[in-house]
Amino acid sequence: MKHRILLVDDNAEVRNLLRLTLVTSPYELREATNGVAALEIMREWKPNIVLLDLMMPGEKNGLQVSREIRQDPALKEVHITMLTARGQQQDIQEGMKAGADAYIIKPFSPLELRRHIQDVVEVINRRRLEGA
């Protein structure tokens, strides 16, 4: 089964960049432009990984989305990688507290992002084998 990755960022160019970076690998990709839409898609589509922008306008920012994911029994297994343009220690800690598993600081290298996703997929696969 292909791993499902949800890309959440309000900036269309960043979403395009994420998609182009990951599209050549065997993943299923979907996009969301805000927190509310992201949660809606997640509940229905059940992705394995979510790349979540921290600062988003609108009702729910990345932190709030992350907290909701961790509180939802149907979603709490999702791996969350936060994308943040705020590289300060305090912001990172806040993200981790909200339930993020990893974070990537903007600007990021597509190559590194792809490697990061590969690592995450390996962890998920191993966990699955152990669970089975």
């Binding site: 900036n11 600007p107 990021f108 597509p110």
Partner: protein, 417 residues
């Protein structure tokens, strides 16, 4: 006692009768006259000193609270009452714990105000190691930041001073550092937003460039990515220029302005015309200008402000939407001013957006669809305010925005006569 030549001395006289004659008159007496001039002067000095101290105490901008040997509040100065909104009568005589309770209420919770007793015991512990040669123990490294929320939000720096001769009484100082903390907070917020605004275009540039290096795309995708890299690089350059402009204006407090008495009408016309170049789809409707006086202005900066207003108007309205530019001479209470009005029929702003429009880096649309730095309005405001004018914005979502810049007319007596 006064001497012949006029100088005087203070004396204390006392006498005693040894024996009396039969008719009751004093026979033998002994008496002393003590020169107490020195004591008297000391006394006067003390009174003077106390008066000076009392003035300093009451005029001090720092709040001061004195606890006596019974650990009760014995003195409170005006500044402290002003800071905390508490009445002196209410405070005098309060025991340390009661005083703490009052302060905890202002802070909103018990945890937010560390108790007076604690502060002193810590100072005591420290004193064993270090005794100030001036017989005074200053617990300066026991300074505590206290944030109160009532009557209004303030940040106070509390420090404690104990007197060596009088171990039990304590003086507590409260310095109001609200303004300084606010500036600090704004600075760090500004820096972190500036970094954020740079990181987003940087990720797009770095990302696309790396992808283009890594593999080949079809021509359309390539062109799209290259265009994007170009746009984002431009927005970084623009951001840097605007940041530098702002910093320059703020740092030199307007000294960089090249002020000259100039007629304003040609400047307005010129800027409007610059938007009406052939090939530029943007059309400015310049309403007929009335006769306008000369103004004391920096031609280039005013042009920049006007240009920013018009660019904004176009950025947030539809392709064929009309943007108009007009100017009037106004007179309010003898002060004449020229107001320049830019009116668009674009998307407008909500009340919340309007309230934040002058915030640096604030952008109502964060989708990335409209390029911009969020510094344009701040720049307009800085420029107009350095000319002694004001910027007014009225806006309605879906209807459009009206920006009014006012520039005062500097009335020159020589010119008038």
């Amino acid at each position: 006692m006064r001497y012949k030549e006029g100088s005087g001395k203070w004396a204390l006289e006392s006498g005693m009768i040894f024996s009396k004659s039969q008719d009751g008159k004093a026979d033998n007496m002994v008496g002393t006259i003590t020169d107490i001039t020195r004591y008297h002067h000391l006394d006067e000095a003390l009174v003077r000193n106390e008066e000076a101290m009392r003035t300093i105490f009451s005029q001090s901008p720092d709040g001061i609270v004195v606890f006596d040997h019974k650990h009760e509040v014995s003195l409170v100065n005006e500044a402290f009452c002003r800071m905390t909104g508490l009445a002196r009568d209410h405070l005098l005589g309060l025991a340390e714990a009661q005083f703490d309770a009052v302060m905890q209420q202002l802070c909103g919770s018990e945890a937010r105000y560390s108790s007076t007793a604690n502060a002193s015991s810590m100072a005591e512990a420290r004193v064993a190691i270090h005794v100030d040669p001036k017989h005074r123990r200053r617990a300066s490294d026991r300074e505590v930041v206290v944030e109160i929320f009532r009557p209004e939000q303030r940040v106070l720096l509390r420090s404690l001073i104990e007197l060596e001769q009088d171990r039990l009484s304590r003086v507590m100082y409260f310095r109001d550092i609200t303004a300084a903390t606010q500036v600090e907070r704004m600075k760090s917020e500004f820096l972190s937003t500036a970094a954020h605004e740079l990181r987003t275009p940087m990720s797009i540039i770095l990302g696309y460039a790396e992808l283009l290096k890594m593999r080949t795309f079809d021509e359309d995708a390539q062109i799209r990515m290259i265009n994007s890299i170009y746009d984002q690089s431009q927005s970084i350059v623009k951001l840097l220029n605007e940041l530098l402009d702002l910093a320059r204006i703020e740092a030199r407090a307007g000294k960089a302005f090249n002020m000259m008495k100039l007629p304003i009408a040609p400047i307005i016309t010129q800027i409007a015309e610059s938007f009406m170049m052939p090939g530029d789809a943007r059309k400015v409707t310049l309403l007929p200008l009335p006769s306008l006086p000369e103004l004391m202005i920096d031609r280039e900066k005013i042009g920049q402000a006007l240009n920013n207003c018009l660019s904004n108007a176009f950025k947030f309205s539809g392709k064929d939407s009309e943007v108009s530019l007009e100017a009037h001479l106004e007179n309010s209470g003898g002060q004449r001013a020229v107001s320049i009005i830019v009116r668009d029929h674009g998307i407008g702003m909500s009340e919340q957006e309007l309230a934040r429009v002058f915030e640096k880096f604030y952008r109502a649309d964060t989708s990335g669809r409209t390029l911009g730095t969020g510094l344009g309005m701040s720049l307009i405001k800085e420029i107009i305010e350095h000319h002694g004018g004001d910027v007014y914005i009225a806006s309605e979502p879906g209807k459009g925005t009206v920006i009014t810049l006012t520039l005062p007319v500097v009335e020159n007596e020589e010119m008038a006569s």
